[in-house]
């Protein structure tokens, strides 16, 4: 096997290996950790972050960043809950929320591209705008789902694998194929790797970027529905700080913040890794502050490993 291939396999399985090791360590500390219930719990808890992280992966590969993702999630969440409370058909709730998320992403993308601004600053601003809008929309109080509506329970709970987990896995496969086997996917990598080259080669750089931010917003909208299904409400203060978990999942999964690299499978593994650590710490009675320290350390280690990998290349 040639070295190039070996390298790409390592970069894909590195985070996966870390996940297995962490899982094994917690299992060794507490055998109850190896039960199906815990595994199911971890998968379910990962759905929200992972779904949003799929969109974030595309944005980060294209060389951008979206700090407003958790705010889009909150805003879409209250809109979804509002629609559900008005007994709108679930299909329309899905369509409407995702479309609204895509619109938020479109705003991020178009301001960034047309005004030629740094996405970090633009989305730092829209983070506040979307969060504030969610609070304005609900007068600061959560919108509870009517108790008689039970359609949403099965998405994030119930018996067996919740729909949300299937959705997450399906999206990972879908976007892996998009990134790897379509022109659009290769264009995202090219724009993130070197925007000038992409322009030279006649790629529609602006359109690609705006589209990528829109997909990121749509995924945040989808994550918002899962979040609503889980908590049975639309809370404007939900998912505070979750943008950092989402970005961390993408980076742990092997993406480079300077663009041109990353995979949605990696992002899924990154998200799983963080949920596993949180669950493992809880089950082993490790206090929350220590969980934070450990999670933070994992992120730093992931970045260091990434750095070393690049140095060798």
């Amino acid at each position: 096997m040639n070295p190039t291939k070996v390298k790409s396999i390592i970069s894909l399985f590195g985070p996966f290996l870390a996940l297995i090791v962490v899982y094994a360590i917690f299992g060794a500390l507490n055998p109850r950790f190896f039960t199906a219930d815990v595994a199911l719990n971890i998968l379910t808890q990962t759905v929200i972050v992972a779904t949003a992280a799929i969109g974030m992966t595309l944005i980060i590969i294209s060389g951008g960043i979206d700090l407003s993702v958790a705010s889009i999630l909150a805003l879409c969440g209250v809109i979804a809950a509002w629609l559900v409370a008005r007994h709108v058909d679930p299909v329309l709730v899905f369509c409407g929320t995702i479309a609204f998320g895509a619109f938020c992403g479109f705003c991020n993308g178009s301001v960034t591209v047309w005004m030629k601004l740094m996405p970090f600053i633009v989305t730092l601003g829209t983070m506040q705008i979307f969060r504030g809008s969610a609070k304005v929309f609900t007068n600061g109080t959560p919108i509870n789902l009517p108790p008689e509506v039970t359609t949403w329970k099965a998405w994030m709970g119930g018996s067996g694998l919740p729909h949300g987990v299937w959705l997450m896995l399906g999206l990972v496969i879908f976007f892996t194929l998009i990134l790897r086997y379509t022109r659009f996917g290769r264009h995202i990598y090219a724009v993130g790797s070197n925007e000038l080259t992409a322009t030279l080669c006649g790629l529609p750089v602006a359109r690609i970027k705006i589209f990528v931010y829109s997909i990121g917003g749509a995924m945040a909208g989808l994550a918002a529905i899962m979040n609503m299904a889980k908590s049975s409400q639309g809370d404007p203060t939900t998912a505070m700080g979750m943008e950092l978990d989402i970005i961390a999942a993408v980076v742990i999964g092997g993406a480079s913040l300077s663009g041109g690299e990353g995979s949605v499978l990696g992002a899924l593994v990154g998200a799983l890794l963080m949920t596993t650590i949180r669950n493992g710490c809880v089950m082993n009675g490790i206090p929350t502050p220590w969980t934070e320290v450990i999670t933070g350390a994992i992120i730093v280690i992931a970045v260091i490993i990434d750095r070393l990998r690049h140095k060798r290349a």
Binding site: F184, L200, G202
Partner: protein, 522 residues
Amino acid sequence: MLLTVVRPMTQEKLPATARLSMQGIRKTFGPTIALGHVDLAVLPGEVHALVGENGAGKSTLMKVLSGAHSADAGVMFLDGVPYQPRNPLHARAQGVGMIYQELSIAPHLTVEENIVLGMEPMMGPFVNRREMRNRAMEALAHFDHPDLQPNRLAGTLSVSAQQLIEIGRSLAMGCKLLVFDEPTSSLAQKDIERLFLLIDRLKAQGISIVYISHFLEEVKRLASRLTILRDGSAIATRDVASTSPEEIVSLMVGRDVNDLYPRSERMRGEPILEINQLAGKSKPQDASLTLHRGEVIGIAGLVGSGRTEFLRTLFGLDAVAAGEVKISDVTSNNNSPAARWKQGIGMLSENRKEEGLALGLSIADNITLSSLDRLGRLGYVSPAEMKSRSARWIEKLGIKCQGPQQRIGALSGGNQQKAALARLLEHDVDVLLLDEPTRGIDIAAKARLYEAIDEIVADPVRPRSVIVISSYLPELFGICDRIAVMSRGVLTEAVPVHEITAEDVMRVATGKSDTLTHFSSL
């Protein structure tokens, strides 16, 4: 693993006074032998050129000299004293200064702070500013450059002035040996002249200089002796005056190079690209040109004359302010790179690293980037197709790599450039716009590019056409059918190469004449 082999001084007829003597230097990286067994001796006050293809081991040898790498075997002496640099700063303290190809100055610090960087004169915990100023002034006295004020921010200076700061840094340390690695690659012509005069002065002061360059003219102009490296070994050391360029090239490449610029029978066909009074925002101001099928037109001119802007405007990368572009007799209404590719025009950027290639992506990705839609239907991109198409160009152009999936950033400059050209060939364009296609690449890769250009232009079935920008006139005269000169944003008429000389071109380029004709015919 330092200094395991000690060889007797008698093996070469070295004067005892050699400023630098490197003996039996060996360096390996894993299984790769970067330097086999290299001897090099540099005399006091000598400019010693080091030439060789990319990958021949020049940079590794210089990294050993500067302490960035430690040798696996071999010894070094500086003025007869054993010399073992631990790192570049240590090397500089001992008298060996490096002037790198990519400048290493801190743009937010002042000139004087840059000069003493890492060696700041201290007074207790504070920098001794007066001493710093004195040292900087002393170093700057060598240059006589009006912009080089000690308290000016380095980032506000021109590239050539920044380079002088680097040189000043070494001089301030009292370096006796300076290494110049491709120092002219980012300089304009008049700055090159100034640099050469400076090197002459330094030489006269007894400072020894190792000069690395791809340009044999520079070697001829500056150096008294040269050492040729090939495949990690020093092949020969010669007197520059008694060695012909052909001999040097043959030694570098390892085979006879009879004709660097091949020229097959070319059939000039119908006009394929007509440019009428094209103007950009500031440059070009007025450029008209008609390119025929099966023809190579060269654009000469000074750096900054608007040559690059002309190609960029033509390709739609810069905005078109006025003028008309006709492709195969059809006026183009859409001036964007995407439209140009569709019209069968491709461009190779002069800036390979920053614009030409996506260095983080694979060779295959880079070659097929503009023509992904041909690798499958409905937006599908077949990895197998991408790989096989790229593999064909890797084979055809002799791109040295591990395979199509290798990251293109890992290749040498020459091989990167072949891949950049392969993108245009893979897209199968009719018109190739090449901006400085051979900048910074070695002679073997150049020869390969010239061959490839000649082959597509002389193609009997579908001859392609080329517009090429180059600062290197022998190259333009070698590969072009006609040459036009850009001067202050205005392009002259294109004239057949056999009707003019390099002097005629320079006269127009430097503004001494407006029309490109042979001098004697005036």
